[in-house]
Subunit: 233 residues, 2 copies
Amino acid sequence: MSTLENNSWQNIQGELSRRIIMRVWQPGEQIPNEADLAVEFGCARTTVNRAMRELANAGLVERRRKAGTRVALNPIRKATLEISITRQEVERRGAQYSHILLERQIKRPPRLISSQMKLVDKAKLLQLKTLHLADNQPFMYEDRWVNPDAAPEILQADLSEISANEWLVQNAPFSDGDISFFAINANKKEAENLAIDEGTAIFIIERMTKMGETAITLVKLAYAPGFKMHTTI
Amino acid sequence: MSTLENNSWQNIQGELSRRIIMRVWQPGEQIPNEADLAVEFGCARTTVNRAMRELANAGLVERRRKAGTRVALNPIRKATLEISITRQEVERRGAQYSHILLERQIKRPPRLISSQMKLVDKAKLLQLKTLHLADNQPFMYEDRWVNPDAAPEILQADLSEISANEWLVQNAPFSDGDISFFAINANKKEAENLAIDEGTAIFIIERMTKMGETAITLVKLAYAPGFKMHTTI
DNA sequence: ATTGATATTATGTATGCACATAATAAATTG
DNA sequence: CAATTTATTATGTGCATACATAATATCAAT
């Protein structure tokens, strides 16, 4: 097969990844340099470079200056999860969204929380407990701590109208954060709120967002049984 | 602050995302076009384009030809999960990896499985049940179906030496697949294998990989309690 | 006014060239 | 021969230019 006149970096990326996936180029093997490939494909080196760059951050190849490019030994595939706000998540399932603010108080958090958020021990936080509903059925129970220093206006916000989740997304920009996913047996409180039996396995997402070094919010989301997080690779 | 002589697309990306995060440019707001920004930053339009492109697939801005670029209304942050092989996952935790092949048989799968893999009903599959250990403690229990049409050599492979997981990664290239994450209460079999009580909440990853339209393998990974999947955004 | 053709505009891509940078290989020096 | 310096090489980036493409705006004709 002649690969000439496959200009456009997309086509070239396609052909390159085909060769890798079909093992034309074996894992660990060095592949031709950009200049040579440019000649083969009848295009500029820049174009090959663009295609290669995409392959590199897809994890299919590893590149090092002077050393060249080689097929990744164990191509670490990356799945990407979209972190959207709960209302959208519910509406995407074709259900009607609503939420109830169950608790709202300002107090000193447990040690575990303040250390996780790297706050001084005496700092007071806003604690919010919210139940998210899909078609009036419990969908997710949210237990959130907010650092009022990082987002003072939230103390005035009416969080029964707009959920804390949504308010923060719109009003409290964050630079980075981390997320954990795990499973737990529902405790009494969680079971009560989600209207399930105590001990039922529930899916948990724990997320902390920060602005630079300052923690903005730490939240634990407990999804009702049957929830599946899905994505493609 | 003069933003002149901030060449290099990284610096420009940094400055642009700073303006977005700091709400200099509000969500939904249209931002200056590439040509104007190129003038402001004293660089070529190509360079601004590069920076913008990165912001776009980070989900911070939305771009449309002629319409221009605007700050994303609800910046959908994407978390990326690295799908690595279990041995590496265990070793990264500083534990010693081992695995036991518990069952190996060729049979017709349940309807649910064959429909999920989009196979004809009468197709036979290789079923493999593997227990993965970290420092000789149960770490994860794997229940896997492999389509021998897609990877015939696996029938000859010695899967007590190298795990099916690892064998497939190295020998059966895939083009795409999908993953689900959820929580279940351990059934009798899972409890037994993971040495836990029946009903304990366990974290499940279900993954199917395909080569084009052909399903290669469908696997259900049941992680021992305490497992947390972690990433950053 | 609605429809349809045409111009305009911002982003998207390709190219040739130049130079920067990191890593390696080769050459030189003690 | 080991250690250090100096070339060499492949990727990384920036720029000017050109043209492609998609979406919108403008204008003409019915």
